[in-house]
Amino acid sequence: MTELQAERGGDLSAPPIDVKSKRLRYIDLLIAIAAFAVLASLPFLFSSKALLDFVIRCAAFGLFATSLNLLVGYTGMISFGHGMFFGLGAYGFGLIMQRTGVPVPVAFLGTLVLTAVVATAIGAICVRLKEIYFAFVTLAFQMLIHSIILSWVSLTGGDQGLRGGIPRPKFLGIDPTNHIHLYIMSCALLVIGLLLMRQIAQSPFGYTLRMIRDNASRASFIGIDVWRAKLTIFVLSSLFASTGGIIMCLFVSGAYPEFAYWTISGEGIFINLLGGVTTFLGPMVGTVLLLTLNDTVTRLTEHYGIVLGIVILFFAIGLRKGLMDFAVEWYEARRGDKERAP
């Protein structure tokens, strides 16, 4: 089966691959259910509210960073402006809840639709460009959105953010103002989000993306519409980043212009650097690593920047790859050693 047929959802059956991928999907689903079960049981094992806060933030940033990896790691599109969708999610959701008072799921879907529309418009312009040009135009759009948030004071509250709290009414028996309910909801969103992204990454479309990353001209020569594929993944990944923003909005009960600032995009890139871009869970590991680092270092010293700088240097010059990349290579090297051993 060629990438072309795969991408068009071709009905050619290719039994050996299909069986294997079906089994893989089955395993993914099992892992997801197990992970959710573990996360959901945490509040009953530990009484620490800070642990729950930590996991909620991991869900927000983890979804954001993993969605960025769909662009950076899988498609080779290094976006410096991915944070705009995080901000858009937070503001979209916050504004819909404050202004209309619709139920949470409706606001959630509305925010995703809004994000998809904006991402399609921005992506249509950006994905034509390559490498550094793509990176900088996405950054420019991010700053545009940030400026709009700052200057449209009557709607967004300017640099003070959305004030007065986000109404969080009950829905389907879930009460987002209840810490444990919010926690379980964030975990569910995280696990479902990761599972969906995993499906995208492992689908024929996901392999098309890898091909575009490795050689876009070749992909184009065999008939793949590179622009459409890039735009599709740009929009899809924006939806997951937006979901991250919604979780953050619920967590802080507000939305602030910093959510759409370039530093959020920078943090996403940094998380990917830390965790590694060659494995699917790399960014998730990076998120846990960065947030742990942040929380621990902030408790101990106010010279957070210097510690973070040293860690970046360690990863960039010492390991020269993310933690998960390193771990996978190390594991494979070990196994290779054993297999070679007499």
Binding site: Q160, G161, V252, Y256, E258, T298, R299
Partner: protein, 419 residues
């Protein structure tokens, strides 16, 4: 066959690494044991460009905490401050505030955040119901807007609208006396800059209706080069200039405008000039800049205020800032409320704090009051004067009239739909 050391990490060091990571993970979540001490959490900005906000807030409050502890603490419980950096990010401010309450067991929050961070901490106070005092946010809506109001949060900072009323009245008097009709403004391009400038101009025109704004410049916050802004103002040839620039922005603006001799060509009103952070940093402080008081140890000209400023200088080897007195006031009020309620319980403190008047070195008449209706500070020293290049920097300060301030503030609240 000899065994050779394999490349990479050995199993033992890998285990050690994992153990280390586990410990690092676990430490923040092991809650501290509840002792007799009362923990007071303080999220603030201790790194980056406005780190001085955090350090001088910390200094300001520590002076008072030491006094309270020396006198036996809050209802017999010594205070332990837990001060943590939010790096100026609202989501970090919210996280740190929650962590301080949930993990560190803080029973009181001193929110020494600026701008959006204060609103983020306000939401935490709303969610957790913890007693919270905002000490640095001057944004009027934080307490004026009834949507923001929660019973457990108070503000001990000055308020933007108060400054504008006093500044507008002062400037209008000078405008009338000197015939200053053509005005220009130059303020940082964000909510604080836009709001205070708008309110200042509004009150200036109320008091002196024939004033006209002929040029507006909005430099970016933390802009390094003000050449185009300075030349734009000079070309417009105004008779007077208003600026809400502050801190490093204000000092670099003055240094750069000095090159063009801007200060000899017009009257300058800079609301944030009379703060030691600006006064002591400018290379050639021009004579005769009009400024509102931020913190200055000679105004109010009382022995208490001078002693407080000197004690601070002796302890930290620098003069207090506007943030210092605002945070010190928070601790003074908490101590007085705790005495009144004979308790350190948040709910009782909040009840006792409403409408509380205390003696204060920073009061216009020697006292400050926590207004009951909207939980914000009134009666603090507020006035305008002109600068000279040496200490005391602003020799004479013309005090604002609190009766007038309160009357105009009530009107302003009505126009905003707050009352």
């Amino acid at each position: 066959m000899t065994k050779s050391r394999k490349p990479g990490i050995s199993r033992r060091s890998a285990l050690a690494l994992m153990g280390g990571t586990a410990v690092t993970f676990a430490t923040p979540w092991v809650a501290g044991a509840q002792a007799k001490t009362i923990k007071v959490g303080m999220p603030t900005i201790l790194s980056g460009r406005v780190a001085q906000l955090g350090t001088s807030s910390r200094n300001g409050i520590m002076i008072e905490v030491d006094k309270v502890n020396a006198a036996g603490g809050l209802a017999g419980r010594p205070i332990e401050m837990v001060i943590r950096d939010s790096k100026g990010q609202p989501q970090e401010a919210a996280r740190v505030a929650r962590e301080l309450v949930n993990t560190d067991g803080c029973e009181i929050l001193i929110d020494a955040e600026a701008s959006s961070g204060a609103f983020a901490v306000h939401e935490v106070a709303r969610d957790l119901g913890v007693f919270c005092v905002h000490t640095n946010s001057e944004t009027s809506s934080l307490t004026a807007d009834p949507k923001q109001h929660i019973p457990n949060a108070f503000r001990t900072a000055r308020q933007g609208v108060h400054d504008s009323i006093v500044g507008g009245g002062y400037a209008a008097a000078i405008a009338k006396a000197k015939g200053l009709k053509k005005w220009a403004t130059c303020s940082p391009d964000y909510a604080y800059g836009r709001d205070t400038t708008g309110e200042f101009v509004y009150y200036l025109k109320q008091f002196a209706p024939d004033v006209e704004i002929i040029s507006e410049a909005w430099p970016k916050l933390f802009q390094p080069d003000y050449t185009e802004v300075v030349t734009k103002i000079l070309q417009a040839k105004p008779q007077a200039l208003y600026s809400a620039l502050w801190g490093g922005d204000l000092t670099s603006y003055i240094d750069q405008a000095n090159i063009y001799a801007l200060f000899t060509q017009m009257e300058v009103f800079a609301v944030n000039m009379a703060d030691y952070t600006a006064l002591t940093v400018v290379k050639n402080l021009p004579k005769g800049i009009h400024s509102g008081n931020r913190y200055i140890k000679t105004y109010p000209a009382t022995a208490e205020n001078a002693a407080w400023g000197d004690a601070y200088k002796a302890k930290f080897n620098e003069y207090p800032t506007n943030w210092s007195w605002e945070n010190a006031t928070a601790m003074m009020l908490i101590a007085a409320a705790s005495k009144k309620a004979n308790s350190a319980d948040g709910k009782k403190l909040a009840e006792a704090m409403k409408g509380l008047t205390i003696k204060s070195p920073f009061g216009a008449d020697g006292t400050v009051t926590m207004r009951a209706e909207d939980h914000t500070l009134i009666g603090y020293a507020i006035g305008w004067g002109t600068t000279i290049p040496v200490e005391p920097y602003v020799p004479e300060v013309k005090s604002g009239d609190w009766k007038q301030i309160l009357a105009l503030e009530a009107e302003w609240k009505k126009t905003k739909g707050y009352t």
